[in-house]
């Protein structure tokens, strides 16, 4: 019984960490599906979102929810501008150029954040910090639960947006067939910038949800590497797949940390990624039809 409870606790903790990976992965995937660019700065955008929330909540004394919204909106606007000003110019360039550009942007963001907010870890108070709920014999942290609940909620909102709104469907359309979208009079470039905005906004949500669990610092964006594994496991093209992939990585990582010798936890995501690439390189949720018919 105690073992079962222990296991469940590990699974919940892992799922919470996995949700964060999943949200970053979701950002990777949205951008990749639309523009075939892999944005290696996604994790660093999460870091920026976290810092903006920190400034708003800890410095300006804004309420947690309002501060969160400010941070999400500001980060989304930043994502839009990033595409409109910088990344739009490299569409059609070799993949290598895009990789170098986004890696470089990651460096710049970390440096800029270090100059602005310093290199120390910071944090802010949230309604979920240091609280627990008891479920049967289980003691679960509000922080972890809030991450899971926030992720589920956000995924639901995104699903409704992409499936039911005209702009959301137009985003799907532009991702599936850019040329045809131009023929329909869809302003494809702006639509792509809006996809960048959504990805950045989602990253900011991840940064804010993460803040009761872990401090915000300049290097927190390196989580993006685990998110990358999550995206690949999810098939790098499937939105639900990326979140499920993230949760999978998170849980495996937790279990490895508990049951395997020290040191394994940190490399688990890489091992899972490698294993995946050997066994099922198209990912668990690869779309079966080609992009173009």
């Amino acid at each position: 019984m105690e073992d079962a409870a222990r296991l469940l606790q590990l699974v919940v903790n892992g799922a919470a960490a996995g949700c964060i990976y999943g949200l970053i992965a979701l950002g990777f995937v949205l951008i990749y599906k639309a523009t075939e660019m892999v944005n290696f700065a996604q994790g660093d955008i999460m870091m920026l979102g976290g810092f903006v929330a920190y400034s708003a909540i800890a410095h300006w004394g804004v309420n947690y929810w309002v501060g969160g919204l400010i941070a999400i909106a500001a980060t989304a606007a930043f994502g839009y501008a990033l595409d409109a000003i910088v990344l739009r110019r490299v569409i059609g360039q070799p993949q290598f150029a895009v990789v170098m550009l986004t890696l470089g942007l990651g460096f710049i963001f970390r440096a800029a954040a270090g100059i602005t907010w310093g290199y120390d870890s910071v944090g802010f108070d949230t309604p979920f910090t240091n609280k627990t709920v008891k479920l049967g014999g289980l003691i679960l942290g509000d922080d972890n639960l809030s991450i899971i609940a926030g992720t589920v909620l956000l995924c639901g909102v995104l699903y409704l947006f992409f499936a039911k709104t005209r702009l959301g469907v137009a985003m799907q359309a532009s991702s599936q067939n850019q040329l045809a979208a131009y023929y329909m009079g869809i302003p494809v470039r702006n639509v792509f910038s809006m996809i960048w905005a959504i990805s950045a906004g989602v990253a900011a949500v991840a940064g804010i949800l993460l803040s009761p669990v872990s401090m915000i610092d300049v290097n927190m964006g390196f989580l993006g590497i685990k998110a990358f594994a999550a995206a690949v496991i999810g098939g790098f093209g499937s939105i639900p797949g990326s979140v499920i992939g993230g949760v999978f990585v998170g849980i495996v990582e937790q279990l490895a940390g508990y049951y395997l010798p020290a040191g394994f936890q940190e490399v688990t995501s890489n091992i899972v990624l490698l294993g995946m690439l050997f066994i099922r390189p198209q990912g668990l949720f690869a779309e079966r039809m080609g992009k173009r018919v």
Partner: protein, 257 residues
């Protein structure tokens, strides 16, 4: 044709350094079907892309309802009333048939009109109504062509640009689709600019025709007249006489220029 709906005037269009269109002029009157015939690579698609604003011409004018639209963005051109059915159909494969159709009306805001036009499309192509909740990528080639035409109709066009709707379809299906194209033209009063390699069906469907070769118009006339011309018969209708084809082609081209 003094009151042309569309007047293309000596356009020159490039892909990077490659000149694909070398001074093409043509006209489409309201309610008319005009066809541009040409072999593969002649520049038919490029002409349509230049009209719909996907490509900008380096020289020349594209005048629609008296306005030069040559350098307008595609969405502005659509709002003016020009809708494009692209070569190879280019449906959105993972969207449903219905969602594809709604994308055709992306630039519109009149939801009543949109609903009416959706019903209209389903009337012309009942198959699409049956399959409206299926992914477009799962449709057959003919159904995808129907969808591409309907999607363009959802933009409420005054002028419909059709790029090789016969491509890859069985002769019977081609007959059916062109029958409906003619009906759309007559019943909705939509003018049509149709580019085709299949000269037979195009000349039977259209009122007026142009012949495009390597980026230039080399002949134009009423379709009935073009159908009767020996050179057209030989090179575009496949009724060739045995022997010196290449030489004759050369001579005729000299005559045209």
């Amino acid at each position: 044709m003094t009151e042309a709906l569309l007047h293309v005037d000596a356009i020159e269009t490039f892909y990077g350094p490659i000149q694909a269109i070398r001074g093409v002029s043509l006209e489409v009157a309201p309610h008319q079907i005009v066809t541009v015939l040409g072999a593969n690579g002649a520049g038919k698609t490029t002409v349509l892309r230049t009209v719909s604003g996907i490509l900008d011409p380096e020289a020349g004018k594209v005048v629609f309802e008296g306005k030069d639209i040559a350098h307008m963005a595609p969405d502005q051109v659509m709002r003016m009333g020009i809708c494009h059915v692209p070569e190879g159909r280019e449906v959105f494969p993972f969207l449903t048939v219905r969602e594809n159709l709604m994308m055709g009306s992306y630039t519109r805001r009149d939801s009543d009109g949109i609903a009416k036009d959706l019903a209209l499309c389903f009337r012309y192509f009942p198959r699409l109504e049956e399959r409206q909740h299926q992914r477009a990528g799962l449709l057959s080639g003919g159904e995808q062509q129907m969808l591409a035409i309907s999607r363009a109709l959802m933009g409420k066009p005054k002028l419909l640009l059709l790029d090789e709707p016969s491509l890859g379809l069985s002769p019977i299906l081609v007959q059916q689709i062109f029958e409906i194209i003619r009906r759309i033209n007559q019943e909705q009063g939509v003018a049509i600019l149709l580019v085709e390699q299949n000269a037979h069906i195009a000349l039977k469907t259209a009122d007026y025709g142009y012949v495009l070769e390597v980026g230039r118009i080399v002949a134009e006339d009423h379709c009935a007249t073009l159908l009767g011309r020996d050179d057209i018969k030989e090179f575009y209708l496949g009724q060739k006489e045995a022997g010196v084809r290449g030489q004759r082609r050369w001579k005729k081209r000299r005559l045209w220029n």
